[in-house]
């Protein structure tokens, strides 16, 4: 009998131990500096919550997107915490694939999170992901070159002004180019920038009846302007430049101006990787006929798939990694300028504003961005530099390729826009729009 008791007791203890060990969360994330920092600092979370162990799956953005889509669409249940963008959060939340972010810890202070970011991650008022960092776009320029040329950068420049500056500062013989912009094809690459340029010229992707508008005067003006500006005053081979390539060009002092993500602010001012760290000025993204939709809004956020078996522990981690305490931890270990930007009002305290010279412009841009109203005219969709419908990835990439072709001169702009109008109309009809 004694032996049986002992055996039962041991079995009981073993099962408790098993239950505790069972709380292993698999976190899927992208290989960006802020996420790698989160992975490193998550040891603190594991120490605070001894019952939870974290397994990390780090992947390149496109690979991650494909991998997560396969898993979530088949309800594979391989991941407990997903790192996704605003595009996926709204689409997957709408489909019921993500667990709503309800009953967050009391000290989480959801009201501290910027409204625009919160709304971008919600569907019909339900929040589906907690923002880890958020970005808008802004203009970077070289203060020394502007001073030498006797130019003044206004706080809210227009694209026409930017083109004038680019013309004066373009000296290819000295390895100095007037402006660097994205040209590499992709819905998240050139089309992010091109769409904000088009928004500024008053264009929109679709009218209220989901009819593409590429044959309208606004797109014609915007596309001609973009191709003209970048081919005349841009670096050679601009059609293969994405964020990273332009960052490298700007950091090595070859670009007089650059319009791109606010997240680059910490890279271009970092003396260990930028030759021009103390010569960079920051201002708002250019506007033209309107300021609506002239700067984009994007956020990387943590979400929990409904197929996860450990939703509570997963929520605990997602809340920790996006909390004020996490921001404090980063400030203590890595310096205040490295706190994930763009999500919380409280991040932008005096200390942060002093350490990050670009913070003011980034903050204002983020606050002003309104994905629900991205264009001067009314639109049926949500999203500034993207259209939040499942078909957009394919359509956006196709349009991106044609813009890149126009940039290399393979196709005149007018012909390119006609082709874009045709292919987009066809794709939208096939997908059953207007819905």
């Amino acid at each position: 009998m004694k032996a049986l008791n002992l055996l039962l007791g041991t079995a009981c203890m073993a099962s408790i131990a098993l239950a505790q060990a069972a709380e292993t969360l698999t976190v899927a994330t992208v290989n960006n500096a802020d996420m790698i920092r989160m992975q490193r600092l998550s040891k603190t979370f594991e120490q605070q919550n001894p019952g939870i162990k974290l397994n990390w799956v780090v992947l390149e953005e496109n690979v991650l997107r494909q991998r997560l889509t396969t898993d979530i669409a088949t309800q594979g249940g391989q991941f407990d915490v997903l790192t996704i963008g605003m595009y996926e959060a709204s689409l997957w939340g709408d489909k019921g694939w993500l667990a709503p972010m309800k009953d967050l810890p009391e000290d989480y202070d959801l009201d501290d999170v910027f409204r625009s970011v919160r709304e971008g991650l919600s569907v019909d008022g339900t929040l589906y992901a907690l923002p880890f960092y958020a970005e808008s776009s802004m203009t970077y320029y070289r203060t020394d070159l502007f001073e030498q040329a006797g130019l003044d950068m206004p706080e809210h420049p227009t694209w026409t002004q930017i083109a004038e500056f680019a013309e004066k500062l373009h000296k290819p013989g000295e390895d100095q180019y007037g402006i660097c912009l994205r040209g590499k094809a992709g819905w998240g690459e050139n089309m992010a920038l091109v769409t904000t340029v088009a928004n500024a010229f008053g264009a929109r992707w679709f009218d209220e009846k989901w009819q593409p508008e590429f044959d309208g005067p606004e797109w014609t003006k915007a596309a001609n302007f973009y191709v003209d500006l970048l081919s005349k005053y841009g670096p050679p081979g601009a059609s293969s430049n994405g964020f990273n390539e332009n960052l490298a060009l700007f950091n090595s002092g070859k670009c007089a101006m650059w319009v791109d993500a606010t997240v680059a602010g910490s890279f271009v001012t970092d003396t260990s990787q930028s030759k021009v760290a103390d010569k960079v000025g920051f201002t708002f993204a250019p506007q033209e006929d309107t300021d609506k939709g002239s700067a984009w809004l994007y956020s990387w956020a943590l979400a929990i798939p409904t197929s996860s078996q450990q939703k509570d522990a997963a929520k605990q981690f997602a809340a920790w990694a996006t909390s004020k305490d996490y921001a404090k931890l980063v400030a203590e270990t890595d310096g205040v300028a490295n706190v994930p930007p763009g999500t919380r009002e409280s991040t932008y305290n005096d200390e942060y504003m002093a350490a990050a010279p670009f913070a003011k412009i980034a903050l204002e841009s983020l606050k002003q961005a309104d994905p629900a109203s991205p264009s001067a005219k009314p639109v049926p969709y949500v999203g500034i530099q993207l259209v939040t419908i499942p078909e957009f990835q394919a359509i956006g990439t196709q349009v991106g390729k044609m813009f890149a072709a126009a940039l290399t001169g393979q196709m005149p702009v007018e012909q390119m826009l006609t082709a874009v109008q045709q292919s987009t109309t066809r794709e939208m009809k096939r997908a059953g729009y207007p819905k």
Partner: protein, 277 residues
């Protein structure tokens, strides 16, 4: 005028130089990868590329610190050796029956087997993902071993079939006359004769499994992820990553390169086996 001897020498020299040029051309990307892996991220991104720089091992240390290289390497080793062993176990008897007991359908069967290689893998991703999920095999080494065995099987059977075809049937018949059983015939006679061919088939299978990236990325997450998945984690659309990516690629190809180097002799013999008939 060149004498015959001189012209022969010149010929050898030209052929030698040509071979060296091709070898260098093929080796250059690997050399460049190794060089980049020893640079800092800024040096790696510099234009024009820098040839003179202060080498650093920091990238390698960071990779070990962040990801734990050996876990991935061990997964790669078990998966590729497992799939190769299983594949050979099936392919040898299959090739034996096709080579020595040929029927009128053998040629057709062989072609049909090869045609499965023409199917784009992404076309069957969802069904296979669902099957793996049903059997609770997602993120397990077993599922990759099974998939790799199946995708490499047509090539293994084809290669072994061509090696077996070169072996005279009389040798096997003689063994049978001496009273050898089927098993003895295979193990004592057939396998020793075709050792070179089998070794190169195995090596090819190992390399194919080692480099496979589609299924390993899609069917694993953390426990069974091999080196190809580790490489995919070091590319990034935001920030500089070339040096670390080169370091992780160097670490990923190093074991199979060394293994290939050691077994080079077998490989060359196997590849030229049956070339002259």
């Amino acid at each position: 005028m060149l004498t015959l001897k001189q012209s022969r020498r010149l010929n050898t020299l030209v052929v030698g130089l040509f071979a060296w040029a091709i070898a260098l051309l093929l080796f250059f990307p690997i050399f460049w990868m190794l060089l980049t892996s020893l640079k800092t991220e800024i040096d790696a991104f510099a234009t024009p590329p820098q040839l003179i720089f202060t080498p650093t091992l920091e990238n390698y240390l960071q990779i070990q610190d962040r990801s734990g290289y050996f876990k991935y390497a061990w997964n790669s080793v078990t998966i590729s050796f497992g799939a190769t062993a299983l594949g050979m176990l099936i392919a040898i008897p299959a090739a034996y029956s096709m080579a020595f007991y040929e029927t009128k359908r053998t040629k057709g069967t062989l072609l049909w087997m090869l045609s499965t290689k023409m199917l784009p893998p992404v076309g069957v991703l969802v069904p296979i993902y669902l099957l793996a999920k049903q059997f609770g095999m997602l993120d397990s080494r077993a599922v990759l071993i099974i998939i790799y065995t199946l995708i490499n099987l047509p090539i293994l059977v084809w290669m072994i079939y061509t090696y077996f075809k070169d072996i005279p049937r009389d040798i096997l018949e003689a063994a049978r006359m001496d009273g050898a059983t089927l098993m003895q015939e295979m193990v004592r006679v057939l396998l020793p004769i075709s050792k070179g061919g089998l070794a190169s088939t195995m090596l090819l299978s190992l390399i194919l499994c080692w480099n496979e990236a589609f299924w390993s990325l899609n069917l694993t997450s953390s426990n069974a992820a091999p080196l190809t998945a580790l490489i995919a984690s070091y590319s990034s659309p935001e920030g500089l990553f070339w040096a670390k990516l080169s370091a992780v690629s160097t670490l990923a190809c190093a074991p199979i390169l060394i293994f290939g180097w050691i077994s080079q002799k077998q490989l060359v013999r196997g590849l030229s086996f049956g070339a002259v008939k």
